[in-house]
Symmetry: C2
Subunit: 342 residues, 2 copies
DNA sequence: GTACACGGTTTTAGCGTTAAAACCAACCGT
DNA sequence: ACGGTTGGTTTTAACGCTAAAACCGTGTAC
């Protein structure tokens, strides 16, 4: 363990091992090019000196930073908890084996984000960026394509999905699975509460419910829309529960709405799980806290897929293959829907 | 807007502006050294070419990366939601004005984190690191000091606080404020549920309650301990509520425990806010969802203070001034404690 | 015995930037 | 008129690394 502070360089290692600097470099980058005997000698010197290759020098020489940029957004206080946090960790973890690091940046809006990403790339501070939570009308993919910024998106726009690589979660199947699960538990009157806007995620989740219900030969009249807040969720739940033939189960497009439903149910003296089954979306900590069944996004898998595609994209920035990957979500069953309908 | 892809360098700008590369560098780093006329000429060329200084080259030359490392931890599913997310954003934002970026890394335990941080520093990939959620017996500050890694911690160990710079939240005052607030609302029987272990944060929060109660001349018998999970919180709340002279308000050391209390209360037919006031800690989204009053940590302020101290530390790594900063938390009053005791 | 290929290593050069030194007017004092 | 400032600019060199070229001893072919 060396304690002196002047950084150890390739040349230092080379001097100790009695070889040239290039040989040390080869030991690290192309070990097969160097004689085992030499390699061991060099490795011993590296060990002895506690050498770590300098990132900046490597980046300068190879013009690749091994850094991926990601805009970090402030967590909205309206929304019940996001998967941003888990996604970040998964991404950092996914980059590790290939030596990629995640670097954060902030931006106030989509345009600023695209501009910041462009600067990051132009400055050689990052090799590519990840777009998080891309929605149907998102301007960011277009902006980044125009700015020639290598990127992969989590989520996708409604058009232009053939122009860039993306990873997305199959919301439709997720919600459909939730309906299957409820039908299996004996439910027939199954409602749905989703976003009012017609952006892709909302549309797809609604369609998942609609199609599954139709497939089971069940009516699709119990369909309500709400903003992504708890009060709106409660209100929408109220409307469904006021139906002359009310639901025994409700699927929500988000955990936030699900919590709103939960609240409305308890207010009305309905026991969640027993009198009204509830299923949320995103499997947030809050869903856990409320014992809510929720449709969880495969965050780790998504992060891994994104890093893979991004490495492709970064490797050949001009005419690289464009890929889309749709991942299946996973239903996490909890008390709010576990028991069979009495 | 140039569309060709070969990166623009200082030399390109210099050629266009008809000056030397060094002058361009001076325009960017020491504008006062260069004639206004020349400066404008150079600035025009920079603009025209869309030049962005190369990070790697700058880092190599100046041996400073303007990068701060931060270990990102997986969000525990046990805990109801953390402030990690908000802290990350605040930190990224706090670094922006001075051109510092946050780079994430992962590690499986404290020792691995320290080792990874050391490597990051030795490789020149980061100038310093931030330790998040440092507790009384935390081995990390010691390890980083030994490894000569510049760092600032959020939270502090019980000893050695004179050896490194830290920022922490004044838990004692936070809890004490919560008690004051409850007393003001007419409560007299105020209980406390905290962690069982004797680590600093737990001790300090418990002391805040104890001291405030004593100050108000109120008894401190309603003291229970629980693991940081909802079931444990419920159980502990049950014990307090079974008291022959039960509390009308309970302060919890975490939002997770507070949610447990909330659950236990509703199970017993007590209406939170009306029959039992509850105060949590950390002001997580879940607290918002439950309408729980909570003691919020000043995340933005903390992040700013940390960046400030870190820049000090990085600037003079050997004998820099060591500072500690204690920040006051802020009580966020919600339905669970708003109304006066009947 | 000379020519040639070959695996392993070293030498050379350059990535883009900036601190430090050198340079070069124009100006100043005597 | 001549050495000495001064302010602005250019030259030089180096940060640590690695691709590419050069080099060099050995083995092989004829």
């Amino acid at each position: 363990m060396p304690v002196n502070d002047q950084p150890v360089t390739l040349a230092d290692v080379a001097a100790v091992a009695n070889v040239s600097a290039q040989t040390v470099s080869n030991v690290l980058r192309r070990p097969e090019r160097v004689l085992p005997k030499t390699r061991r000698k060099v490795e011993a010197a590296i060990e002895q000196l506690g050498y770590h290759p300098n990132h900046a020098a490597r980046a300068l020489r190879a013009s690749t930073s091994h850094v991926i940029g990601l805009r970090i957004e402030p967590t909205s206080t309206e929304v019940v908890g996001s998967i941003h946090d888990r996604f970040l960790h998964a991404l950092a973890e996914a980059g590790r084996p290939s030596g990629y690091h995640i670097q954060l940046f902030t931006a106030d809006d989509a345009a600023a984000e695209a501009e910041a990403a462009r600067t990051l790339i132009r400055a050689g501070a990052a090799d590519g960026v990840v777009l998080y939570d891309v929605r149907a009308q998102d301007p960011r993919p277009g902006l980044l394509l125009a700015g020639r910024v290598p990127f992969v998106s989590f989520g996708r726009t409604v058009s232009g999905t053939g122009e860039y690589s993306w990873v997305d979660v199959d919301d439709e199947t997720g919600v459909s699975d939730a309906v299957d699960h409820l039908v299996e538990r004996g439910h027939r009157r199954i409602g749905y509460i989703g976003w009012p806007e017609d952006f892709s995620v909302g549309v797809r989740r609604a369609r998942g419910w609609h199609d599954a219900m139709t497939r089971h030969g069940l009516p699709t009249d119990l369909d309500a829309r709400a903003e992504d807040t708890m009060p709106a969720g409660s209100q929408a739940a109220g409307r469904l529960l006021d139906d002359p033939h009310p639901p025994t189960a409700i699927v929500a497009a988000t955990d936030t709405i699900a919590v709103g439903i939960h609240h409305e149910a308890t207010t009305r003296g309905l026991r969640p799980g027993a009198d009204l089954a509830i299923v949320g979306f995103d499997d947030t900590p809050t869903a856990l806290a409320f014992g809510l069944t929720s449709i969880g996004q495969p965050v780790t898998e998504a992060a891994r897929a994104i890093m893979e595609l991004l490495m492709d994209t970064v490797a050949k920035p001009d005419r690289h293959a464009v890929h889309g990957r749709l991942l299946a979500p996973r239903l996490v069953v909890r008390a709010s829907s576990r028991s069979a309908r009495p």
